[in-house]
Protein backbone atom coordinates (compact mmCIF):
# COMPACT_ATOMS: atom_id res chain seq x y z
CA UNK A 1 0.00 0.00 0.00
CA UNK A 2 1.03 3.58 -0.53
CA UNK A 3 3.14 4.97 2.27
CA UNK A 4 1.02 8.11 2.08
CA UNK A 5 -2.00 6.48 3.69
CA UNK A 6 -2.72 6.14 7.37
CA UNK A 7 -3.77 2.71 8.58
CA UNK A 8 -7.30 4.00 8.97
CA UNK A 9 -7.32 5.23 5.38
CA UNK A 10 -6.06 1.89 4.13
CA UNK A 11 -8.93 0.18 5.97
CA UNK A 12 -11.56 2.71 4.93
CA UNK A 13 -10.62 2.91 1.25
CA UNK A 14 -9.44 -0.70 0.82
CA UNK A 15 -11.97 -1.55 -1.90
CA UNK A 16 -10.94 1.44 -3.97
CA UNK A 17 -7.23 0.95 -3.34
CA UNK A 18 -7.40 -2.63 -4.64
CA UNK A 19 -9.68 -1.65 -7.55
CA UNK A 20 -7.90 -1.60 -10.92
CA UNK A 21 -8.50 1.89 -12.28
CA UNK A 22 -8.40 3.66 -8.91
CA UNK A 23 -5.70 2.06 -6.79
CA UNK A 24 -3.52 3.92 -4.34
CA UNK A 25 -2.78 6.62 -6.87
CA UNK A 26 -6.44 7.30 -7.62
CA UNK A 27 -7.34 7.29 -3.93
CA UNK A 28 -4.60 9.86 -3.27
CA UNK A 29 -6.12 12.06 -5.99
CA UNK A 30 -9.53 11.74 -4.35
CA UNK A 31 -8.11 12.69 -0.96
CA UNK A 32 -6.47 15.75 -2.51
CA UNK A 33 -9.57 16.77 -4.49
CA UNK A 34 -11.92 19.67 -3.80
CA UNK A 35 -15.46 19.23 -5.11
CA UNK A 36 -18.31 21.73 -4.71
CA UNK A 37 -21.90 20.55 -5.02
CA UNK A 38 -24.41 23.30 -5.77
CA UNK A 39 -27.64 22.28 -4.04
CA UNK A 40 -28.28 19.87 -1.18
CA UNK A 41 -31.47 18.46 -2.64
CA UNK A 42 -32.39 15.40 -4.66
CA UNK A 43 -29.23 15.36 -6.77
CA UNK A 44 -26.95 16.83 -4.10
CA UNK A 45 -27.90 14.06 -1.64
CA UNK A 46 -26.28 11.10 -3.44
CA UNK A 47 -23.56 13.30 -4.91
CA UNK A 48 -22.47 14.47 -1.47
CA UNK A 49 -22.87 11.13 0.25
CA UNK A 50 -20.96 9.08 -2.33
CA UNK A 51 -18.17 11.64 -2.70
CA UNK A 52 -17.81 11.82 1.09
CA UNK A 53 -17.71 8.03 1.26
CA UNK A 54 -15.13 7.97 -1.55
CA UNK A 55 -12.86 10.21 0.48
CA UNK A 56 -12.98 13.37 -1.59
CA UNK A 57 -10.79 15.35 0.76
CA UNK A 58 -12.65 18.65 0.67
CA UNK A 59 -16.34 18.67 -0.11
CA UNK A 60 -18.34 21.90 -0.42
CA UNK A 61 -22.11 22.03 -0.33
CA UNK A 62 -24.18 25.10 -1.10
CA UNK A 63 -27.85 25.66 -0.36
CA UNK A 64 -29.87 28.46 1.20
CA UNK A 65 -33.04 26.52 1.95
CA UNK A 66 -34.41 24.66 4.95
CA UNK A 67 -35.43 21.01 5.03
CA UNK A 68 -39.13 20.57 4.29
CA UNK A 69 -41.16 17.45 4.94
CA UNK A 70 -41.90 17.17 1.20
CA UNK A 71 -38.14 16.87 0.52
CA UNK A 72 -37.77 13.59 2.43
CA UNK A 73 -39.32 11.46 -0.36
CA UNK A 74 -36.08 11.87 -2.38
CA UNK A 75 -33.51 14.04 -0.58
CA UNK A 76 -31.98 11.20 1.36
CA UNK A 77 -29.17 13.23 2.90
CA UNK A 78 -31.81 14.72 5.23
CA UNK A 79 -33.71 12.89 7.95
CA UNK A 80 -37.14 13.41 9.47
CA UNK A 81 -35.54 14.99 12.52
CA UNK A 82 -33.90 17.60 10.25
CA UNK A 83 -37.16 19.18 9.08
CA UNK A 84 -36.86 22.93 9.58
CA UNK A 85 -33.05 22.92 9.80
CA UNK A 86 -30.89 24.64 7.19
CA UNK A 87 -30.12 22.06 4.51
CA UNK A 88 -26.40 22.69 4.66
CA UNK A 89 -26.40 21.98 8.42
CA UNK A 90 -28.31 18.76 7.96
CA UNK A 91 -26.15 17.75 4.97
CA UNK A 92 -22.90 18.60 6.76
CA UNK A 93 -23.88 16.44 9.74
CA UNK A 94 -24.71 13.52 7.45
CA UNK A 95 -21.51 13.85 5.42
CA UNK A 96 -19.36 14.05 8.55
CA UNK A 97 -21.16 10.99 9.95
CA UNK A 98 -20.37 9.06 6.76
CA UNK A 99 -16.74 10.19 6.73
CA UNK A 100 -15.35 12.23 9.63
CA UNK A 101 -11.90 12.28 8.03
CA UNK A 102 -12.80 14.68 5.22
CA UNK A 103 -13.34 18.41 5.36
CA UNK A 104 -16.89 19.59 4.67
CA UNK A 105 -17.38 23.24 3.73
CA UNK A 106 -20.99 24.42 4.00
CA UNK A 107 -22.25 27.52 2.18
CA UNK A 108 -25.59 28.56 3.65
CA UNK A 109 -26.13 31.14 0.96
CA UNK A 110 -27.75 32.02 -2.34
CA UNK A 111 -25.49 31.83 -5.38
CA UNK A 112 -25.54 35.13 -7.26
CA UNK A 113 -23.63 36.91 -10.01
CA UNK A 114 -21.96 38.85 -7.18
CA UNK A 115 -20.59 35.90 -5.18
CA UNK A 116 -20.27 33.12 -7.77
CA UNK A 117 -16.63 33.73 -8.71
CA UNK A 118 -15.52 33.92 -5.09
CA UNK A 119 -17.42 30.79 -4.08
CA UNK A 120 -16.44 28.62 -7.07
CA UNK A 121 -12.80 29.73 -7.33
CA UNK A 122 -11.25 27.31 -4.77
CA UNK A 123 -12.78 24.14 -6.22
CA UNK A 124 -11.40 21.58 -8.69
CA UNK A 125 -14.75 20.22 -9.86
CA UNK A 126 -18.25 21.71 -9.61
CA UNK A 127 -21.38 19.53 -9.55
CA UNK A 128 -24.67 21.12 -10.59
CA UNK A 129 -27.51 19.88 -8.40
CA UNK A 130 -29.63 22.99 -8.42
CA UNK A 131 -33.29 23.16 -9.37
CA UNK A 132 -33.80 26.22 -11.52
CA UNK A 133 -32.67 27.66 -14.83
CA UNK A 134 -31.15 30.98 -13.68
CA UNK A 135 -28.66 29.23 -11.40
CA UNK A 136 -27.89 26.56 -14.00
CA UNK A 137 -26.86 29.27 -16.49
CA UNK A 138 -25.00 31.14 -13.74
CA UNK A 139 -23.05 28.02 -12.73
CA UNK A 140 -22.31 27.22 -16.37
CA UNK A 141 -20.99 30.67 -17.18
CA UNK A 142 -18.94 30.89 -13.98
CA UNK A 143 -17.28 27.50 -14.54
CA UNK A 144 -16.60 28.40 -18.17
CA UNK A 145 -14.95 31.68 -17.17
CA UNK A 146 -12.94 29.97 -14.41
CA UNK A 147 -12.04 26.98 -16.61
CA UNK A 148 -13.46 24.40 -14.19
CA UNK A 149 -15.20 21.15 -15.12
CA UNK A 150 -18.93 21.07 -14.45
CA UNK A 151 -20.80 17.83 -13.83
CA UNK A 152 -24.35 18.51 -14.96
CA UNK A 153 -27.47 16.64 -13.94
CA UNK A 154 -31.11 17.57 -14.22
CA UNK A 155 -34.42 15.84 -13.56
CA UNK A 156 -38.13 16.22 -14.15
CA UNK A 157 -40.92 13.79 -13.28
CA UNK A 158 -39.48 10.48 -14.65
CA UNK A 159 -36.76 11.89 -16.92
CA UNK A 160 -33.13 12.63 -16.18
CA UNK A 161 -30.19 14.12 -18.05
CA UNK A 162 -26.47 14.12 -17.25
CA UNK A 163 -23.32 15.30 -18.96
CA UNK A 164 -19.93 16.86 -18.25
CA UNK A 165 -18.94 20.31 -19.48
CA UNK A 166 -15.16 20.59 -19.68
CA UNK A 167 -14.04 24.11 -20.60
CA UNK A 168 -11.52 23.98 -23.38
CA UNK A 169 -10.99 24.21 -27.06
CA UNK A 170 -14.15 23.42 -28.99
CA UNK A 171 -15.79 21.66 -26.04
CA UNK A 172 -19.50 22.30 -25.45
CA UNK A 173 -21.05 24.10 -22.49
CA UNK A 174 -24.63 24.16 -21.17
CA UNK A 175 -25.46 27.05 -23.51
CA UNK A 176 -24.37 24.92 -26.49
CA UNK A 177 -26.80 22.23 -25.33
CA UNK A 178 -29.69 24.57 -24.49
CA UNK A 179 -29.05 28.11 -25.78
CA UNK A 180 -32.17 29.47 -24.10
CA UNK A 181 -34.27 28.50 -21.08
CA UNK A 182 -37.97 27.82 -21.60
CA UNK A 183 -40.17 30.86 -20.98
CA UNK A 184 -41.30 31.02 -17.35
CA UNK A 185 -44.47 29.01 -16.78
CA UNK A 186 -44.04 26.62 -19.72
CA UNK A 187 -42.32 23.95 -17.64
CA UNK A 188 -44.07 23.04 -14.41
CA UNK A 189 -41.83 22.79 -11.36
CA UNK A 190 -41.26 19.53 -9.49
CA UNK A 191 -43.54 21.02 -6.83
CA UNK A 192 -46.29 21.26 -9.46
CA UNK A 193 -45.47 18.32 -11.71
CA UNK A 194 -44.11 15.88 -9.15
CA UNK A 195 -40.89 13.92 -9.34
CA UNK A 196 -40.17 10.21 -9.00
CA UNK A 197 -38.27 9.94 -5.72
CA UNK A 198 -35.66 7.44 -6.91
CA UNK A 199 -34.87 9.49 -10.05
CA UNK A 200 -32.46 12.02 -8.48
CA UNK A 201 -30.77 9.10 -6.74
CA UNK A 202 -29.93 7.51 -10.08
CA UNK A 203 -28.95 10.74 -11.84
CA UNK A 204 -27.02 12.01 -8.81
CA UNK A 205 -25.08 8.74 -8.63
CA UNK A 206 -24.14 9.18 -12.30
CA UNK A 207 -22.87 12.67 -11.45
CA UNK A 208 -20.89 11.31 -8.49
CA UNK A 209 -19.37 8.64 -10.74
CA UNK A 210 -18.38 11.24 -13.33
CA UNK A 211 -16.82 13.45 -10.63
CA UNK A 212 -14.71 10.53 -9.39
CA UNK A 213 -13.65 9.73 -12.96
CA UNK A 214 -12.65 13.35 -13.60
CA UNK A 215 -10.58 13.41 -10.41
CA UNK A 216 -8.85 10.10 -11.01
CA UNK A 217 -8.53 10.63 -14.76
CA UNK A 218 -9.92 7.19 -15.49
CA UNK A 219 -12.39 6.10 -18.11
CA UNK A 220 -14.36 8.14 -20.60
CA UNK A 221 -16.29 10.95 -18.98
CA UNK A 222 -19.56 12.23 -20.46
CA UNK A 223 -17.80 15.08 -22.27
CA UNK A 224 -19.58 15.86 -25.54
CA UNK A 225 -22.19 13.24 -24.71
CA UNK A 226 -25.53 13.64 -22.97
CA UNK A 227 -27.01 10.73 -21.08
CA UNK A 228 -30.82 10.72 -21.29
CA UNK A 229 -32.53 8.52 -18.72
CA UNK A 230 -36.17 7.47 -18.75
CA UNK A 231 -37.02 5.81 -15.46
CA UNK A 232 -40.48 4.68 -16.61
CA UNK A 233 -39.14 2.78 -19.61
CA UNK A 234 -35.81 2.11 -17.81
CA UNK A 235 -34.05 3.36 -20.90
CA UNK A 236 -30.62 4.97 -21.11
CA UNK A 237 -29.73 6.79 -24.33
CA UNK A 238 -26.59 8.73 -25.17
CA UNK A 239 -26.65 11.56 -27.71
CA UNK A 240 -23.94 13.90 -28.96
CA UNK A 241 -23.46 17.35 -27.47
CA UNK A 242 -21.84 19.53 -30.11
CA UNK A 243 -19.74 22.60 -29.44
CA UNK A 244 -21.57 25.61 -30.88
CA UNK A 245 -19.13 27.92 -32.65
CA UNK A 246 -21.73 30.68 -32.20
CA UNK A 247 -22.14 30.07 -28.44
CA UNK A 248 -22.25 33.44 -26.65
CA UNK A 249 -19.98 32.11 -23.87
CA UNK A 250 -17.64 29.46 -25.33
CA UNK A 251 -17.96 30.16 -29.07
CA UNK A 252 -15.46 31.72 -31.43
CA UNK A 253 -16.61 35.27 -30.76
CA UNK A 254 -18.16 35.33 -27.29
CA UNK A 255 -20.71 38.06 -26.63
CA UNK A 256 -21.09 37.23 -22.93
CA UNK A 257 -17.76 37.80 -21.21
CA UNK A 258 -18.92 38.45 -17.66
CA UNK A 259 -21.72 37.23 -15.41
CA UNK A 260 -25.09 38.71 -16.36
CA UNK A 261 -28.52 39.18 -14.79
CA UNK A 262 -29.73 35.57 -14.97
CA UNK A 263 -33.24 36.32 -13.78
CA UNK A 264 -33.68 38.71 -16.70
CA UNK A 265 -32.08 36.17 -19.08
CA UNK A 266 -34.62 33.61 -17.92
CA UNK A 267 -37.49 36.07 -18.29
CA UNK A 268 -38.03 36.71 -14.61
CA UNK A 269 -38.74 40.10 -13.11
CA UNK A 270 -36.11 41.40 -10.66
CA UNK A 271 -36.65 39.75 -7.30
CA UNK A 272 -39.11 37.22 -8.67
CA UNK A 273 -38.41 33.67 -7.56
CA UNK A 274 -37.83 31.20 -10.37
CA UNK A 275 -41.01 29.14 -10.67
CA UNK A 276 -38.91 26.01 -10.34
CA UNK A 277 -36.99 27.08 -7.26
CA UNK A 278 -37.75 24.95 -4.30
CA UNK A 279 -34.36 24.28 -2.82
CA UNK A 280 -30.84 24.79 -3.94
CA UNK A 281 -30.43 28.27 -4.86
CA UNK A 282 -31.88 31.38 -6.29
CA UNK A 283 -30.08 34.16 -8.07
CA UNK A 284 -30.99 37.04 -5.87
Amino acid sequence: MSVGFTEEQVRRYARHIILPGIGGEGQCKLLDAKVLCIGAGGLGSPVGMYLAAAGVGTLGILDFDKVDESNLQRQIIHSTADVGRPKVDSATDRLRAINPTIEVVPYDTILTSQNAFEILQPWDVVVDGTDNFPVRYLVNDTTQFLGKPLVYGSIYQWDGQATVFMPGQEAPCYRCLFPQPPPPGTVPSCAEGGVFGVLPGIVGCIQAAEAVKLITGKGDPLIGRLLIFDALQMDFQTVKVRWDADCPVCGKEPTITELIDYDAFCGLAPGEAPPEAEHGVSTH
Binding site: G153, Q157, F178, T186, P200, V239, K240, E276, H279
Partner: protein
Amino acid sequence: MVRVKLPTILRKHADGEAQVDADGSTLRELLADLETRYPGITKNVVTPDGGLHRFVNVYVNDEDVRYLGSLETAVKEGDRISILPAVAGG
Protein backbone atom coordinates in the same frame (compact mmCIF):
# COMPACT_ATOMS: atom_id res chain seq x y z
CA MET B 1 -43.56 5.20 -40.14
CA VAL B 2 -40.85 6.64 -37.95
CA ARG B 3 -40.66 6.04 -34.21
CA VAL B 4 -40.60 9.15 -32.00
CA LYS B 5 -39.59 8.93 -28.36
CA LEU B 6 -41.46 11.38 -26.13
CA PRO B 7 -40.30 12.90 -22.85
CA THR B 8 -42.69 12.45 -19.92
CA ILE B 9 -43.91 16.03 -20.21
CA LEU B 10 -45.32 15.45 -23.73
CA ARG B 11 -46.91 12.08 -23.06
CA LYS B 12 -50.10 13.64 -21.79
CA HIS B 13 -50.81 14.66 -25.39
CA ALA B 14 -50.34 11.06 -26.59
CA ASP B 15 -52.51 9.07 -24.20
CA GLY B 16 -49.47 8.48 -22.01
CA GLU B 17 -47.49 6.68 -24.70
CA ALA B 18 -43.68 6.83 -24.38
CA GLN B 19 -43.16 6.26 -28.10
CA VAL B 20 -45.41 7.05 -31.02
CA ASP B 21 -45.19 6.55 -34.78
CA ALA B 22 -45.53 9.31 -37.34
CA ASP B 23 -45.27 9.69 -41.10
CA GLY B 24 -42.92 11.94 -42.99
CA SER B 25 -39.68 12.09 -44.93
CA THR B 26 -38.38 15.18 -43.12
CA LEU B 27 -38.52 16.15 -39.48
CA ARG B 28 -40.91 18.99 -40.36
CA GLU B 29 -43.36 16.56 -42.02
CA LEU B 30 -42.97 14.14 -39.15
CA LEU B 31 -43.77 16.75 -36.50
CA ALA B 32 -46.71 18.05 -38.58
CA ASP B 33 -48.12 14.53 -38.75
CA LEU B 34 -47.56 14.12 -35.02
CA GLU B 35 -49.45 17.37 -34.39
CA THR B 36 -52.37 16.09 -36.51
CA ARG B 37 -52.52 12.87 -34.54
CA TYR B 38 -51.93 14.46 -31.14
CA PRO B 39 -53.01 18.14 -31.18
CA GLY B 40 -50.83 20.37 -28.99
CA ILE B 41 -47.90 17.98 -28.82
CA THR B 42 -45.51 20.16 -30.84
CA LYS B 43 -46.61 23.53 -29.42
CA ASN B 44 -43.45 23.83 -27.32
CA VAL B 45 -41.21 22.20 -29.94
CA VAL B 46 -41.91 24.21 -33.08
CA THR B 47 -42.05 28.02 -32.95
CA PRO B 48 -45.05 29.91 -34.40
CA ASP B 49 -42.91 30.93 -37.39
CA GLY B 50 -41.87 27.35 -38.11
CA GLY B 51 -38.47 27.05 -36.45
CA LEU B 52 -37.27 24.96 -33.54
CA HIS B 53 -37.45 26.34 -30.00
CA ARG B 54 -34.01 26.84 -28.46
CA PHE B 55 -35.00 25.12 -25.19
CA VAL B 56 -35.98 21.84 -26.84
CA ASN B 57 -33.59 19.59 -28.72
CA VAL B 58 -34.57 17.00 -31.28
CA TYR B 59 -32.21 14.15 -32.06
CA VAL B 60 -32.21 11.85 -35.05
CA ASN B 61 -30.52 8.81 -33.61
CA ASP B 62 -27.69 10.38 -31.57
CA GLU B 63 -27.30 13.63 -33.52
CA ASP B 64 -28.84 17.01 -32.62
CA VAL B 65 -30.81 18.13 -35.69
CA ARG B 66 -29.47 21.68 -35.27
CA TYR B 67 -26.21 20.22 -36.62
CA LEU B 68 -28.00 18.33 -39.39
CA GLY B 69 -30.70 20.09 -41.41
CA SER B 70 -32.83 21.37 -38.52
CA LEU B 71 -36.50 20.78 -39.42
CA GLU B 72 -35.55 19.82 -42.97
CA THR B 73 -33.46 16.88 -41.72
CA ALA B 74 -34.36 13.72 -43.63
CA VAL B 75 -35.83 10.92 -41.57
CA LYS B 76 -36.56 7.34 -42.51
CA GLU B 77 -38.03 4.21 -41.07
CA GLY B 78 -35.70 2.76 -38.48
CA ASP B 79 -34.44 6.14 -37.26
CA ARG B 80 -34.94 6.91 -33.62
CA ILE B 81 -36.28 10.44 -33.10
CA SER B 82 -35.98 11.83 -29.58
CA ILE B 83 -37.50 15.05 -28.29
CA LEU B 84 -35.63 16.46 -25.32
CA PRO B 85 -36.82 19.55 -23.44
CA ALA B 86 -34.55 21.50 -21.10
CA VAL B 87 -35.50 20.64 -17.53
CA ALA B 88 -34.07 22.16 -14.39
CA GLY B 89 -35.21 19.97 -11.52
CA GLY B 90 -32.69 18.80 -8.99
